[in-house]
Symmetry: C2
Amino acid sequence: MTSSESVEGRAPGLRERKKAKTRAAIQQEAMRLFLERGYDGATVEDIAEAAEVSPSTFFRYFPTKEDVVLRDDYDELLLEIFLAQPPELTPLQAARAALHSIGGVVDALSPEERELERVRMALTFTVPEVRARWINELVRAFRTLAEGVAARAGRPADDIRVRTFVGAVIGVMLVAMEPLVEDPTREWTDFLPAIDEALGYLEQGLPL
Amino acid sequence: MTSSESVEGRAPGLRERKKAKTRAAIQQEAMRLFLERGYDGATVEDIAEAAEVSPSTFFRYFPTKEDVVLRDDYDELLLEIFLAQPPELTPLQAARAALHSIGGVVDALSPEERELERVRMALTFTVPEVRARWINELVRAFRTLAEGVAARAGRPADDIRVRTFVGAVIGVMLVAMEPLVEDPTREWTDFLPAIDEALGYLEQGLPL
DNA sequence: CCTCCATCAGATAGTAACTATCATGAATGT
DNA sequence: ACATTCATGATAGTTACTATCTGATGGAGG
């Protein structure tokens, strides 16, 4: 995404470009330091220095230290893809279809972006504070999902069946990705098949 | 486990009794102050002073400020009750049975204890940091649950069907209790019927 | 090109949640 | 009664975060 100043598509303005660059720099330096010394081993001050900004600026871009790890667009993207699925699919089918689509999106990333993603995910799962906040994000995202599911099913968003569906999907994704804690070198896309399988069991009423 | 020489149930020793008293005092004063001024409005120092201990002592009893809200025995108790259910029940039936039992336990509490529980739950759901940590506790608790379920189903604990089951139950309980955020005056036992119903839908393969 | 305005970056000072360490005194076991 | 264990309090420090002020910079209009 390092575009020159020449007009490409639409020029978002110099200011905006600078901001995007600063944000990327902070996040990248943060990941580098975290990888090098661990999450607690790198202070916000260290990161700010490495990214050549002041600590004030760090907090202007990321309200908390955890956010520098969590910040991404994939949750939102996954949600969009889910909502865009053809309405004749059942919610579970739509969820599985969305899952397959996102796999393709991730495959198209550059190697550096992939590496960044890997580190981010590893930290998300291994650093307790970060993980805790991430789950909150998940809950928030799936609140939106509930509305989509409700519309799809022709029921109110607070219908208990809709809520149950959404809760079950959250929970299943959560535990399906949990092995990441043991082996943070793996990428989260490795778990897409497991999630898919788990959704299948959900559909069958949790056979044991 | 805690093999003191005294016969169980009687005279846990002066030291232990003092500790229990101190812990209870800290938690009680904390809840009083939180109710009065809000979670952020009462510092650890304030709480320590109100409980007539030093800040050092506060952290000796509760490793973080959040823990003073989260600390309880109900998760563990619920787990024990679940594991004690007769083996001929299916895991979902056992979960529902355990849920009914815990309702009885809570009914037997004194009014003050109930009030303490109410405040604790309200804070757990309304204060983001506390809630985030609570979910971590949940995940930890349900890791133990997975072992129980696995034994019950005659499968390994890392079996994907077992994990899916556990994840679904976590998720369903999570969203079932979510209305507490909107109305923190309600007790969590009010939601037992909703959880029970949700578990029923789970059993039916999430009809929509 | 110059000017005004909105905004963004940096610096400073402060708060609050922790952590580490050490000396004191109380509880306990002999 | 004595030695040991261990909870407590005090002190000093680190770090994440907040508030506020001042100076710099990009963008828009004349």
